[in-house]
Symmetry: C2
């Protein structure tokens, strides 16, 4: 269900983590996928929404953004999120092409890195953006006190 009823340009799935491999602790895991027709103008809006949405839990149980926590960000490309079930199979016909997807993904990561670097609270805490390699299978270990999984479509 996209935010406005139209066909989405992207999907992002968010999970909370205490610890995830790729050496990210106490942070936000973002699985991201781009659809055909997604364009670069989308990216700043995605970054703004995902890094400012109040889904990170403080020790007091309050929910703040990952920038305010502050916490690490782990970005994992998940083209599988673009799949659509048909019978017993998944089809990925709406996914962006591989080159476009890589370009959008890379720019998305870069914009997230810039946002953290520009946020003094994050710079002082030394929190980082880690990201998986586009196109490769990425082993992942995730510990979470409740994954708190959210889906956002753009």
């Amino acid at each position: 269900m996209s935010e406005s009823g139209r066909i989405p340009q992207a999907r992002a799935l968010l999970q909370q983590c205490l610890h995830a491999r790729l050496q990210v602790q106490r942070g936000l895991v973002i699985y991201v996928c781009f659809f055909k027709g997604a364009n670069k103008e989308l990216l700043p809006k995605m970054v703004n929404t995902l890094l400012n949405v109040k889904l990170s839990e403080t020790e007091n149980g309050k929910h703040v953004s990952i920038l305010d926590l502050p916490g690490n960000v782990l970005i994992i490309p998940q083209t599988t999120l673009g799949g659509r079930v048909k019978g017993r199979n998944m089809q990925y016909h709406s996914n962006s092409g591989k080159e476009e997807g890589l370009e959008l993904y890379s720019q998305f990561v870069t914009l997230c890195e810039k946002e953290l670097a520009a946020t003094s609270k994050c710079a002082e805490a030394g929190v980082v953006v880690e990201h998986g390699t586009y196109g490769n299978r990425q082993a992942l270990q995730l510990d979470t006190n409740g994954p708190y999984t959210h889906l956002i479509e753009f």
Copy 2:
């Protein structure tokens, strides 16, 4: 994006796991959420789709259903999957009520257990359905060789 463009009745997020806490190995993790208006008639269709979709990878790299693998199933209630972002906040207005959600969740789990029990390949292999407790935060450890995350809406 629902399968037919209408407002969905449920969302299921699937991930592959090598090992997940709650003692499930080599199986399928299903995060499930029900929306307002979801009714029981939906459940057999959900079970049929989720347990037969070919998203489980064999050692040969072939994709089969979890029933054919065969593998364990870990079902985790994730009402957060029903959220919709508004500004910096998530809203859960479309989620089912707590009682309805619990009822649907419990029946969904039961139907999955029955399906595995009725499948000789699964019974012989001794694979099981494990599930989290509705309404409680559930710590989760997930190891995966690529989470292979898929979203299905019903």
